[in-house]
Symmetry: C3
Subunit: 416 residues, 3 copies
Amino acid sequence: MRFKFSIIALLLEVVFIILFALFVEYDTENTRLYPFFKDVHVMIFIGFGFLMTFLKKYGFTSVGINMLIAAFGLQWGTLMQGFLHKRGGKIPVNVKSMINADFSTATALISFGAVLGKTNPVQMLLLTLLEIAVFAANEHLVTEIFQATDIGASMTIHAFGAYFGLAVTLILYRPGLKKKHENEESNYHSDIFAMIGTLFLWLFWPSFNSAIADENDRTQTIINTYYALAACVVVTFALSSLLDQRGKFSMVLIQNATLAGGVAVGTCADLTIYPFVAMCIGSIAGIISVLGFRFLTPVLASKLKIQDTCGVHNLHGLPGILGGIAGIIVTAVQPEIKRGVQLTPGNQAAALGSTIGIALLGGALTGAILKLPIWGQVSDQNCFDDSAYWEVPEEEKLHEINSNHYDEHSRFEAIM
Amino acid sequence: MRFKFSIIALLLEVVFIILFALFVEYDTENTRLYPFFKDVHVMIFIGFGFLMTFLKKYGFTSVGINMLIAAFGLQWGTLMQGFLHKRGGKIPVNVKSMINADFSTATALISFGAVLGKTNPVQMLLLTLLEIAVFAANEHLVTEIFQATDIGASMTIHAFGAYFGLAVTLILYRPGLKKKHENEESNYHSDIFAMIGTLFLWLFWPSFNSAIADENDRTQTIINTYYALAACVVVTFALSSLLDQRGKFSMVLIQNATLAGGVAVGTCADLTIYPFVAMCIGSIAGIISVLGFRFLTPVLASKLKIQDTCGVHNLHGLPGILGGIAGIIVTAVQPEIKRGVQLTPGNQAAALGSTIGIALLGGALTGAILKLPIWGQVSDQNCFDDSAYWEVPEEEKLHEINSNHYDEHSRFEAIM
Amino acid sequence: MRFKFSIIALLLEVVFIILFALFVEYDTENTRLYPFFKDVHVMIFIGFGFLMTFLKKYGFTSVGINMLIAAFGLQWGTLMQGFLHKRGGKIPVNVKSMINADFSTATALISFGAVLGKTNPVQMLLLTLLEIAVFAANEHLVTEIFQATDIGASMTIHAFGAYFGLAVTLILYRPGLKKKHENEESNYHSDIFAMIGTLFLWLFWPSFNSAIADENDRTQTIINTYYALAACVVVTFALSSLLDQRGKFSMVLIQNATLAGGVAVGTCADLTIYPFVAMCIGSIAGIISVLGFRFLTPVLASKLKIQDTCGVHNLHGLPGILGGIAGIIVTAVQPEIKRGVQLTPGNQAAALGSTIGIALLGGALTGAILKLPIWGQVSDQNCFDDSAYWEVPEEEKLHEINSNHYDEHSRFEAIM
């Protein structure tokens, strides 16, 4: 990996700098949106990064490669989104475009969750490059051509990132991981680290959904998201207990399904749906997310060869579709005008359909490219293990000695 | 617990949604207070949640049930506070009411600290329901009837939450825990996790105290809190070392007593007390908090049957009273008008007295209800152990095997 | 340490309170800068504190004494900076002066990184006291006398703090630590804790650099810092892999060198350098920081007797100088006026030179004072170990027993 990764990364960084020199200029907008940018920024780097640290031996990659993808992707996202909205041949950057650049990386990070533990850093750079390009095109289609509304990006980020990632992981299917890998699990402290990610995502979701909302709609966007998330938490805890034989809570559900309400309320967050409807959306999101984790993910892995490490289908995919459907229903029931355009259920449905179609197609093509042997592939045995790509402190080896010691001791007792 | 918890939680969530549908509407206020809301939000979910992760085997419950209580409570708090301030039969929600909803959950989370490790999730839902109702009534009494000032809620949140929780834990007294439970302690990493909570509480306390202050008073509220907290840290470190035979610092004191300055300066934070008085209040708060942890908590547990897991009496109770007393003194010395009302020491004293009385009474009644056998009680042996309510990763069991192994080995050596 | 530390700390706190009573008054400025203050506040307490938790047995000191130094230092910094900018004999405090107070503590925290593990809390209080006084004088010289620009404080905070700390650690040289101390290393979870620090520093660096920028320059200051940091991350990952024989990433580089871009872009951050130049500065900073960690730090320790625990020379020293040089070049190439003054490369060079000279001199004198036997010195053996100053949970001892057990067992097997 040594030369492949570093040369590709340095080369792309040089290309970015040249493109920035040619095209990017300051915009004069003020810093009014900066508080919202910061929250999104925390969600991308702390939220997504720590959420994935739940794997006991993959924390360095989760938080480290998450940082790499996001820092790499935000430069690329600036360019990709900028090329679609050039002004006099130049790409003006301001705080709003920084928010959009961060947003674009979220799609790659969601897809990262689907393939977590099974790809190498070179593959992740390529995935980021390809996915953000496709994302920018699809977002342009949804907002400019279909003129659909999706303020919190239930469709364009969450469903898109999830189905893109699911298609990639399907193409990269590893029969050798059919039986659960011994490292594909959490330990006590890794689960608590993951809660740092969960909570910062949960807390700043109202900012995510309202960051680029119209000033007049921002308060209700915040309120809708706040109550949708709160209802989702209560329902998730209830179902987590209900579905367990001994009534115990499951950390994977609390870490993930509690966030589904924020995903699902995204499309309608700036519409006048009233808090109780937001709470209904949040509750339903919690239900389908919990059910997805419990019943769908095992089936996807065993029957459809879709190995979804973090369960992004349940956190981003299904709740994203729910958000899209909610958008169709709300615009059908109650006509609204946003940004000078009459919203229609037809346009919303077109946006949802095209997003999922493009994501699946883009993901499949990306998966096929990532499967090329030239990028190097981590062996099944080294999956879910930081030590494949990181210098890992010695203690881990000591643990192994310890457990060998234990085995020897057992054998010794057996001899006795 | 399986059906009891999930049915109660789902039922209450349905009730909340119905009440929201009937009563709650958007208010048109702007998002000017949103930055303050976010800080309070982080304090409630990250601050309180991680502060309690210090227990070595109770981190899932600390951060997870904290999230449940807060998400559940903020919906209920919206309704309870809303019913007392209805406008045309409706409850208008805006960012300020979201701050107040978050505030209301703080009382339940403080009380959670007193009973941490000894109650089940059903009991915690009930406690939250009852405590927030009583809190809303007491806060109405303090601010509307007595017209007392308590901008940082030293009395209405901190002292209230602490004495409510102490009364609950007194009623739920467990003789079986007289001897320290083997799980009622920290380990090295759990203590560092707890510092995440401490620091986010400490950092955003100026926002907590100034969130709903008058615009003109906000700067001095922030300044007073900033310097009170800084002084409190220095004094806490000094006393922590002074009271230890070998001069060593104690993590429990650094995690908790460093925050007492924020609690104690709350009542007077928006008054023109000047930074040096704030620093005096912060210093005294640090002193009484450290002394409370060292000398009072053991006595409360052994003589008064008050088992206060997190020492909320020292962090919220005593400093809250100190804040109330500081309010009495300051309003006696220097007449001030806030929100069109002349502040008087008599009203401040009435507010402090009624708050503690109502908290003790409400807590005792709540404790009696929680003691009913129908809610299920965790056995003494399973206290302070996540595995009673959570699926916990296997390694913990491995540790047990390991230590059994160690014991066997010792026995083996003894045999030799 | 018991009485020495607590009496010195309490005495100084009393002196602070008296000085505040005599000199400090509220300023009437509004809270416009409060969002920037909060980000800096998080960087100081969470960022610096957790960044240093990478040492496996020194997390309590890293995050705890970091808190002590910062809380102590911000009071002292308020006074030191205030005495240089008195108004009618009084020191007016507002949110901007709180930002500057927090800034002043950053110098002491950077120096703390150089001596981490090798000093006691009394020494750290003294270092903070002396360094902040020298910092305030040097900053006055740079901004008022030389009228140089250094908006993100590449020179006055980062280079200053680094070279001050390096001089201190040179004077306090410990031959006994020539061979790497067994505790001077990370473990798996301590490295993840450190990433919390890295990320919060990285995320809020745009606020650090723009906190006290002119309103009109703030957007471009934020943009420059954002892209400099992003480029730095990509380059750091690339070089980290490239310099490792097996192409593996190194956590120490990811934790530190990714931040060098924020340091280096500081001086020019508010100038119209355009994002691509910021990205070049960030990339070069990443390169020199990685090279510093790999090649320079070992040489400094072995040849020059400079034991730099956290490698602050590579994160703050060299990138700080790079920032200063960038400032010289930019002001030479493109004349700009800031705060009514024409910037000149001569003044920038004078600022850089004086900063490093004063830092080295101040650090050497401070080191000489800290070396006095009256403050107590931790033995070489107890370096990098919290248990010298903290009550540490028992488990650590259990680990020792465990490993003794292992040794016994080995011996036992040998006997067999």
